[in-house]
């Protein structure tokens, strides 16, 4: 037997002014299974709540309908009332007779009728509601951060400093990321290394941060609060625990190959560290160029190593780490302009990329900060910057990479400071100086005599004799096509998703935006969240951004992750979908429509059936409708409940 109690709130005169609450209570009391119906001035007041509580206890109510304001106002209040009286809080329904009746209609009789229908609908629903209990899932109170550029470093430090453990995994042999390649940063012209290095050191010395460099996350399983990550620690060809980072091996190594870190503007050894401040300061043997490994000769590094750390045969190691949340800060790659043949990159020696210029300008770079032409080593006098290379381009990337205007201006200024006599042209579409101090920075560049040419560069060709690149562009302000012979061209390449981002995306079950960067859960409201609960985004992995934005987002991601791991357990909403395994045909249609990856197909005897992970399911019901034969139901929103409500709303069954 069901005993439903209905409580009709006057809400002062807010409801009672339009709805005849007393008559309504009398009508409602006659409904099937309703054992009492009361009206009261303010149901949400303490005496109102006590009324419900007492009735549950003394009148043996087992389900409650409150006809009052919107459930958005006081549903939780009444749920607590039920719980405190020992009744399952999910056996409550709210009939919204204020916002959706008394406040929107004037006719007393009709509004009372409508209120009756709304209560009748709520009664029909509550009668069929199931008592539900929130499940809780234990949370592993550590965070995995993928990528140790400035974003990953900031996130890790924030989390660690608040007191939670971090597992930080970096693909390269040192942390620091792209920022470590930069000389100075805009708009303050701070030395990049000067602000980054202390943070890197902090990472290495923080006991709460477990750092894996030269490592990759290969697999992630589990769900919010309970992820398991398999990490491959690639072999450096030496024993890290012995290496002291003395650098002797690096010094004696006879092999020299183009340095990727220097964007091929310089050379490195076959055993090398990326840069002097590398963290950890432990070299890696490049197996592709090491003479000993490729030809079996040499072995110099092993001979000179005072601690005997070199171990050519060393293999990769695999480590499993359990974490409660994941922050993806895998960064970006610079756009490779080779495909934009009109710019001649890779053909004309004196056409370089912005990142290559960064290395040339870097005091610790291959030229110790001197900008020289690759063709002859001469100092270029006329330099042109070409903006939007691969960005804002229908044929490459449609998006704006956000940083190129500023880094081109920054580098132009730096050159101008070294060589005030040099002529610098910046070919742009719009100068996007949109940050704090950026417009001022742009003004400063104009003051210094840097020439801004509005127009997209159509073509670059080379004067064979001088090897000077010539820029042919449509100067849209002049309205004419211009040709400009310069000593060197710098292509301001944009940002593209990191080469392995699609692997990471699949591994984590993330969505990708059309631009290929990881997609956030909501562009405006949840910019650091993803659709996979417990996974957050930081930095340029989510989309192009500059250093301040990256740091800000990293802090946001840290906070998101802390929101998960600061709890010992997570309470999961029980209002989710569940599968009737017997009915399930295992077709996978539900899996296909689930935006959260909450559904997987598992084997049951000889069949496949869908299984919903309650920790991931959000209870949207999409899968319910996708299911052809009704194997999935959304708890307390079942077909039968809806049909019963329809019958109540429309007055009677067929």
């Amino acid at each position: 037997m069901t005993n439903i109690g209905v409580y009709i709130c006057h809400c002062g005169t807010n409801i009672a002014g339009v709805v005849d609450v007393e008559a309504l209570a009398k009508r409602v009391a006659k409904l099937k299974d309703v054992s009492l119906a009361r009206d009261y001035k303010y149901m949400c007041s303490n005496p109102g709540q006590d009324l419900i509580r007492d009735d549950i206890k003394h009148r043996n109510l087992d389900r409650v309908v409150v006809a009052a304001c919107s459930p958005r106002m006081h549903e939780n209040t009444y749920k607590k009332v039920l719980a405190s009286a020992g009744l399952n809080p999910f056996l409550l329904e709210i009939a919204n007779i204020r916002e959706q009746a008394s406040w929107v209609h004037l006719d007393k009789e009709k509004t009372t009728n409508k209120a009756f229908d709304l209560i009748n609908m709520a009664v029909s629903k509550v009668r069929m509601d199931e008592p539900l209990t929130s499940m809780s899932a234990n949370v592993i109170q550590r965070v995995l951060v993928i990528g140790a550029g400035i974003a990953g470093i900031q996130t890790s430090l924030d989390i660690a400093n608040i007191g939670y453990d971090v597992v930080l995994v970096e693909k390269e042999q040192s942390i620091g990321g792209r920022m470590s390649q930069l000389g100075k940063t805009f708009p303050t012209l701070d030395c990049s290394a000067c602000i980054l290095t202390p943070k890197m050191v902090e990472v290495s010395s923080n006991p709460r941060i477990k750092l894996f460099t030269y490592s990759e996350v290969e697999e992630i399983s589990g769900f919010i609060g309970n992820f398991k990550a398999k990490i491959r620690k690639k072999s450096r060809g030496l024993d890290e625990s012995l290496c002291t980072g003395c650098g002797l091996c690096q010094e004696k190594c006879p092999t020299r190959v183009p340095s990727e870190y220097d964007e091929k503007m310089g050379k490195r050894k076959a055993i090398y560290t990326l840069f002097p401040q590398a963290v950890p300061n432990i070299p890696v043997i490049d197996r592709a160029s090491c003479l000993y490994i490729t030809k079996g000769k040499c072995g110099v590094c092993k001979k000179v190593c005072p601690v005997g750390a070199i171990d050519y045969e060393r293999g990769d190691e695999f480590i499993e780490e359990e974490v409660g949340a994941v922050v993806v800060a895998s960064g970006f790659d610079p756009f490779d302009p080779t495909s934009k043949e009109e710019y001649g990159f890779g053909i004309y020696k004196n056409v370089i990329t912005g990142l290559q210029l960064e290395r040339l300008l870097h005091a610790a770079g291959p030229t110790q900060g001197e900008v020289v032409r690759p063709s002859d080593g001469a100092v270029p006098k006329r330099i042109a910057f070409v903006q939007c290379v691969g960005s804002r381009d229908e044929h490459a990337n449609k998006y704006c990479s956000r940083v190129c205007c500023m880094y081109a201006i920054k580098n132009a200024l730096l050159i101008k400071e070294h060589h005030p006599e040099s002529e610098i042209f910046i070919y742009y579409i719009d100068i996007r100086a949109f940050g704090k101090g950026y417009e001022e920075f742009y003004k400063r560049a104009q003051e210094k005599g840097i020439k801004f040419m509005r127009g997209r560069v159509a073509e670059i060709f080379e004067e064979p004799a001088s090897r000077n690149p010539v820029i042919r562009a449509d100067d849209t302000l002049l309205g004419m096509v211009t040709e400009n012979e310069v000593d060197m061209v710098v292509l301001s390449v944009g940002m593209i998703p990191r080469s392995d981002s699609s692997r990471i995306q699949k591994m984590l079950g993330l969505a990708a935006s059309p631009d290929g960067f990881f997609m956030e859960a909501h562009a405006k409201l949840r910019p650091v969240d993803t659709l996979v609960d417990g996974v957050f985004l930081a930095g340029t992995a989510q989309g192009p951004k500059d250093i301040p934005d990256t740091v800000a987002q990293a802090k946001g991601a840290a906070s998101g992750a802390l929101g998960v791991v600061s709890h010992k357990a997570l309470l999961l909403s029980p209002l989710i979908s569940e599968v009737d395994e017997r009915l399930c045909r295992g077709c996978g249609d539900c899996k296909d429509v689930c935006e959260y990856g909450a559904i997987e197909l598992v084997t049951l005897d000889t069949r496949k059936v869908a299984k919903i992970n309650p920790a991931i399911c959000k209870g949207c019901g999409s899968c319910v409708v996708a299911c052809c034969n009704g194997s999935i139901k959304l708890r307390n929103f079942t077909d039968s409940i809806t049909f019963a409500m329809l019958e109540a709303a429309l007055g009677g069954a067929l």
């Binding site: 919204n96 916002e99 406040w103 929107v104 509004t111 935006e595 019901g621 409708v625 409500m645 709303a649």
Partner: protein, 138 residues
């Protein structure tokens, strides 16, 4: 003879349209009392069969309201709702039922006015269509 007063059922999603309806209330916007709202978590949770069942039970109009495309709380539930309503409209066409009795609307949490106006409009439109033939019992 009294004026025909249509019976209308609206399925409103929990995150946008239901809140929009609440906003119409808090803004004290008046609209016809013909409508009965059933809250669903997402417009994508509305089976085509819910709509047909409502018509079978004599509803003169059925509205499905969800978040604007792109704003779905569950990413794409509203897009799914759109596809599903289209399927239903095909069936209704074969059955000879007037597709104008079914309306799909995107109403955000801030569109109390749109909610009220939509209800007004829909009620007027359904009044012109006359009573749902299925509601006339033999």
């Amino acid at each position: 003879m009294t004026e025909f007063s249509p019976r209308i059922v609206a399925f409103c999603c929990n995150w946008c349209s239901y809140v929009g309806a609440d906003l119409a209330g808090t803004s004290r916007l008046q609209y016809p009392d013909n409508i009965r709202i059933i809250k669903v978590m997402c417009s994508g949770q509305v089976f085509p069969s819910y709509i047909l069942k409502a018509l079978e039970l004599g509803a003169d109009g059925v509205m499905v309201a969800g978040c604007h495309i792109g704003d779905c709380h569950y990413v794409s539930g509203n897009k799914k709702a759109q596809e599903r309503v289209e399927t239903l409209l095909r069936v209704m066409k074969t059955l000879g039922l007037d597709p104008r009795r079914v309306r799909l609307e995107w109403i955000s949490a801030s569109e109390g006015v749109k909610f009220a106006n939509t209800v007004k409009e829909f009620v007027e439109e359904v009044k012109e269509l006359g009573p749902n033939q299925l509601g006339v019992r033999e």
